[in-house]
Symmetry: C2
């Protein structure tokens, strides 16, 4: 065993003879999640170069950093981007509550269209810029590492002729993983992401899941693939399927694991590395530690609605404040809006909190969260039960996962009263099952052969060492959908069966006729 | 990263506070493959107790060992077992060549029946023996570790109320993995084991694969599951599905990996740990090393037909000897029969050879093998191209895998001439592509996050630590086959569609009639 450990440690330390990694641009929590892997890659002697657009909320090429940056100009202004996000949040959190299904659908489609248009503008400034592409080619990169949420990395990897590693949280109803990555996802026990279903479904839920998959596939086909196919074909000068190019990715690093997600079929080139960014807690700033310690045995509650939602309506903020005021715990609330009325002496508001360090603090009893994957993973890592106030995107679905695993209670912002929020926090603190369940998830999270970050780094380095990972790629990629499901074979067997039945029937009827006619002839003769 | 490595090393070394592992009886290469894992478990402070039947070819409870033994008497004599194996080998290697398909089928079915009967006799002496079951219950084992090729471990685990970990090479057409373990295996790109197909199939091959799956499923249903269901139900006193019990296994350690097998869908509780028994080569005995060194630049060829086949017919042995005599290499041949005529001075015959040490010797140029998985894995581990002379069981299929990956040439014993064998050996030595391909497989084998043995040990210990691994188990286990494939949902949608079409049609025809009758009335009125 010692020999194997030594071999393993050597392998981990050996790759230090520097590879060159190109990182596709991204933003928001996607960038937060990518950074720890890139930091580790730099620690291990690799050169990391990040493509950074001139319009980015989280990436900044002028900041001093251990990464190299490859900036590129985009024709989308920061104002436009901020306005788009604000509008999207307003729609997702508030407007959606007062709209008909048709209005919601139309508005949602509008957002996807704008988003797609804006993504293509970004992509255009990379693959159609001679300067950038020349630089990237000259860079002789060993691998392109990308979160495919910002499309085009597959096209760029193809043009540069280098392997591609994806880091992905999810696509709508697993459309990309299923259709392009060939990941099996039987709708009977793999709930579509954002369907708010679990892996235990009754008939009506399975029906809804099938329809959900089908609907999302139609939406993706019409709003994304069609546009991308057109653009890719134009750039490459030959009919090109964007989904096929995406399917050429060597490794898909999926940012979930069986602590958070429901177990499901996978493929050899899909690695589940949820919780990449998690790390032990560091000590808190002195002032904050004092406040935390003042909570005594009651402990503290950590409250954040994530990096996107800065403010709430005054009414909602006041209601939340008065709910928190009723808790015996001290509360640390990340909030940038005006000070709400009725804020209790037990609650302190902060522009920013060291969320991971707070969640890892022994005094922490509960986490009130918007239900983003990063925050949930920190809570799982440290074993803190949750109260979810999901806002948009995958957040409601994420909270369904945590509720199904008995580690959280969800409060819907629309219907939330100060009593229901207070009761929810009290429940996850006082009902011991929540703590027990989240501790079970925490054990699952920690008790695996390799930490998620090391596993992600291993497969990126593997792809560099071996110039790809073709041996992990299933032949399903070469089959049409009806071949994949053996429908042509079944149709053939059905035809053979029918033919046999037909021949049997004809033979019988022929014999029967012969028999009858003989009898008739006999009778006539008689 | 250092922190993670330390954590990992600590984790690997931590489990030393001894669990108790019960090992199900097995035999032949299955026992060879299990032993290294058990040795490692003992190294790590666990107590390993092995169930050993009084009739066993490879297990011996009276030998001094680091394992504890739990012997049990069986009503099958050693003579019967040896005779059965001899008859099976004679049939598989020689008789099969002169038989019609119907004769082969009947004989094969006969063998399966006898085998099943003999397996049940073994099982009976465990689960129906009060003494043994009392001892096992008193043992307070943390896990039952079993190769399911010898049935009943699932029943015993259920009766003892302990978790179950399987170590399995394969079942016929993946019947157990698919039907009981819920492992997805689309026949369009997952060739059935023993079908001699690869993952690249044209229409006729896909057709054959579908039929092969279906045929094996029928055979398994009639010859195995029916018998087992009856026996399990009798033992438990309640209707019991043996397949359902098998599906309750916490972890399936599959003894292949993507160096040997074709990539395919998997499940979170299926771990692919092919090559568990592989290890670095040790120095050869002095006399043997001298002979090997005398080969000069030409190098050596290692030749073994495995532990089961001791002799060949005189005719075949002579033919092989004269083929080997024509090689420029020195040949080390494991063979217990009479000295063949025409044996060259370059060939030495041994009753037993240190196969792994020879394959790891720098002078080794090629390996002539019967194509057993253990031998193939040693060749992959050390990067030695192969010539296969497959005999029976999975061996022909294994060689198809190695041929498809460009690491071997297969010679069929039936048609083999001394020229064809000589040419095959010369080809894999002189055509550089074979060495390159097997070296590629060797890199795939070695370049993974954890050695297969460590991974197997990790998951056995995980199961002990966590009293099972329920979080890796898909909900598909709770679905019927038509629910799994959403056929009930599709049927419902079809009915709704047909109803809608019917209503539309009726409405149209009603309107049409109304319209016509009005016109008629109008015309009459006119």
């Amino acid at each position: 065993m010692k020999l194997h450990i030594t071999f393993f440690v050597l392998l981990l330390l050996s790759a230090a003879n520097g590879g060159k990694i190109l990182v596709w641009h991204t933003d928001g929590s996607h960038w937060i999640n990518m950074k720890p892997v890139l930091e580790t890659l730099v620690d291990r002697g690799h050169q990391v170069t990040v493509l950074v657009p001139s319009t980015s909320m989280f990436m900044n090429s002028s900041e001093p950093s251990r990464f190299r940056y490859e900036p590129f100009n985009v024709s989308v202004s920061m104002e436009f981007k901020k306005k788009f996000i604000e509008e999207f949040l307003l729609f997702s959190i508030y407007e959606v509550n007062h709209m008909s299904y048709l209005q919601i659908y139309n508005k949602f489609i509008g957002f996807i269209r704008t988003n797609m248009d804006y993504f293509l503008k970004f992509l255009h400034r990379v693959v159609k810029s001679e300067t950038i592409m020349k630089k990237l080619k000259k860079g002789n990169y060993d691998v392109l590492f990308a979160d495919p949420i910002y499309p085009g990395s597959d096209l760029a990897a193809d043009m540069l002729g280098i392997p591609l590693v994806f880091s992905l949280r999810f696509s709508l109803a697993h459309n990309w993983e299923r259709m392009c990555g060939q990941l099996p996802a039987p709708p009977s026990f793999v709930p579509g992401i954002m369907s708010k279903l679990t892996d235990k479904m009754d008939f009506s839920e399975r029906l809804w899941n099938v329809l959900f998959y089908a609907l999302q596939d139609v939406v993706m086909r019409n709003l994304m693939w069609r546009e991308l196919d057109k653009y890719y074909s134009e750039v490459k000068g030959t009919p090109t399927s964007a989904c096929e190019l995406m399917g050429k990715a060597d490794i898909w690093l999926m940012r979930t694991y069986w602590d958070f997600d429901f177990p499901r079929p996978l493929l050899p080139n899909f690695k589940f590395v949820g919780g990449i960014h998690c790390k032990p807690a560091k000590p808190l700033p002195e002032e904050m530690e004092k406040f935390v310690q003042s909570s005594g045995d009651a402990g503290i509650v950590v409250f954040s609605l994530g990096s996107m939602v800065k403010n709430l309506t005054t009414e909602k903020a006041n209601m939340i404040a008065s709910a928190l005021a009723q808790l015996p715990q001290k509360v640390l609330w990340r909030y940038s809006g005006e000070k709400p009325k009725g804020l209790g002496s037990n609650t302190r508001i902060y522009d920013w909190i060291p969320q991971n360090d707070l969640l890892g603090h022994p005094k922490t009893k509960a986490f009130i969260t918007h239900g983003g994957t990063n925050g949930i993973y920190e809570a799982i890592y440290h074993g803190v039960p949750m109260v979810g106030i999901p806002m948009f995107g995958d957040q409601p679905d994420n909270m369904v996962h945590m509720e199904a695993k008995g580690a959280a209670v969800t409060a819907k912002l629309k219907f939330m009263t100060n009593e229901s929020l207070r009761d929810a926090v009290n429940t996850v603190i006082n009902d011991k099952s929540y703590k027990e369940n989240v501790m079970r998830l925490s054990r699952i999270h920690h008790d695996r052969p390799m930490s998620p970050r090391d596993e992600a780094v291993f497969w990126i380095e593997f792809t560099m060492r071996n110039k790809g990972a073709k041996h992990l790629r299933v032949q399903a990629h070469k089959l049409t959908w009806y071949q994949y499901h053996s429908l042509d074979v079944l149709a053939f067997l059905l035809i053979i069966d029918l033919l046999l039945i037909f021949i049997l029937f004809k033979s019988c009827s022929f014999c029967f006729k012969r028999c009858c006619s003989r009898k008739k002839t006999k009778r006539k003769a008689e």
